[in-house]
């Protein structure tokens, strides 16, 4: 449904969701704070934070946009044997596996140039790739569940799914990074 172009109407449509998402993100900030000591000691891990959560959100939102379009065109069924669903899910994992080694290497190099990296390159790359692999699977699950939920509740997936998926993946990005850092470093 189109909103009127007044500050009041736009705010009424947007602010409630925005405030809920802000609270969700404060949750991810609290997780971030819980391993802040490790992040301050190892600049390369701190460099990884925005790129990991941003990439997780992007993987989810690109998949969500594609599934929404397929859904609107009537080409999508929510069956595990659906070729379009399986192909898009496989592409999401493949994208993560090809991008996260560069993320890890880039984070290590930039940290080393600016602050001096404390952790060895292979550890940072491992942290990035392990986080990325787990996150891509989670992004697929979250996106499919959110798109299916929008379809069941007869909401337009374009309006609902992308903000939900982006913000949930942000939070998962921090949680997964935290888990991998605790396990590895």
């Amino acid at each position: 449904m189109p909103t009127d172009w007044t500050v009041r109407a736009i705010t009424r449509a947007m602010l409630p969701v925005l405030l809920v998402l802000t609270l969700v993100e404060i949750g991810s900030g609290l997780v971030l704070e819980s391993f802040a000591g490790e992040l301050y000691r190892s600049p390369s891990l701190l460099v990884l934070v925005p790129v990991t959560i941003g990439t997780a959100g992007n993987l989810g939102s690109v998949l969500a946009a594609r599934l929404s379009t397929s859904f609107h065109l009537g080409r999508l069924s929510f069956s595990p044997t659906d070729d379009r669903l399986a192909g898009n899910a496989a592409a999401t994992v493949a994208l993560a596996l090809s991008v996260f080694p560069l993320v890890g290497g880039g984070a290590w190099l930039l940290a080393d140039l600016t602050a001096g990296a404390r952790l060895p390159l292979e550890v940072v790359v491992f942290v990035a790739v392990a986080s990325g692999a787990v996150l891509s699977v989670l992004a697929v699950i979250v996106t499919v569940v959110a798109t299916y939920g929008a379809y069941r509740f007869e909401l337009d997936p374009d309006d609902v799914v992308i903000p939900v998926v982006t913000n949930v993946c942000d939070v998962l990005g921090v949680v997964v990074l935290f888990g991998v850092v605790v396990a590895v470093v």
């Binding site: 736009i10 404060i26 790129v51 941003g54 994208l95 600016t114």
Partner: protein
């Protein structure tokens, strides 16, 4: 199409935007890593970081999507015209919502940390950093989003596909850079230590 064909198409179409946002994310990370002194000087600031960055994406991504749809529908024209009130109102609404969400993030971070008895900077310090960075990045991002959508539309690109990568990349970089600037500015006039 087979699973493999679907996957190859989706991969090809996704890799460019993803690589762009990875570059933006890495730049934002370098700035964040250069901000360790401020993060430690203002306890509670790191709790707000994901919320403030997400607000940039949510608010200005939505502004871009709204402008793109309106261009497609012919509701607005790709010119910054003074006599058409729609564009300034949409930008004003985005700025107002961005500031409200930033202030709310500061308040929520303060209440949670103070409520659990942890060291946190005063609500006026967190609030000032959140609002100042929200204002600066809001002005920069709304200018950039309007320019990208209008110029893209005039040159024949689909503005819908421009908005996502532009906002995620610039949102992270501007978001962190202005957060650093805001934290340094506020620390000049206020004490960031435990309240």
């Amino acid at each position: 199409m087979t699973v493999r064909e679907v996957a190859v198409t989706a991969y090809r179409e996704g890799v460019g935007a993803l690589a762009t946002s990875v570059l933006g994310g890495l730049l934002a990370g370098v700035v964040l890593s250069g901000m360790r002194a401020e993060l430690q000087a203002v306890p509670g600031l790191i709790v707000m970081v994901p919320a403030l960055l997400a607000t940039r994406g949510n608010v200005y991504g939505s502004l871009g999507a709204r402008l793109a749809t309106a261009l497609h529908q012919g509701l607005i024209r790709p010119q910054v015209r003074v006599d058409d009130g729609r564009l300034p109102r949409a930008v004003a609404a985005a700025l107002a919502n961005g500031l409200l969400a930033s202030g709310f993030a500061a308040l929520a971070a303060f209440l949670v940390l103070a409520g659990t008895g942890r060291c946190v900077a005063g609500p006026h310090v967190l609030g000032a950093v959140a609002l100042l960075s929200g204002l600066l990045s809001g002005v920069a991002l709304s200018t950039l989003v309007v320019a990208a959508v209008f110029v893209g539309f005039r040159r024949g690109y689909n503005p819908d596909t421009l908005v996502g990568p532009v906002v995620t990349t610039a949102g992270d970089v501007f978001g962190v850079a202005f957060l650093l600037l805001a934290a340094r500015t506020v620390l000049l006039v206020a004490d960031g230590g435990c309240w």
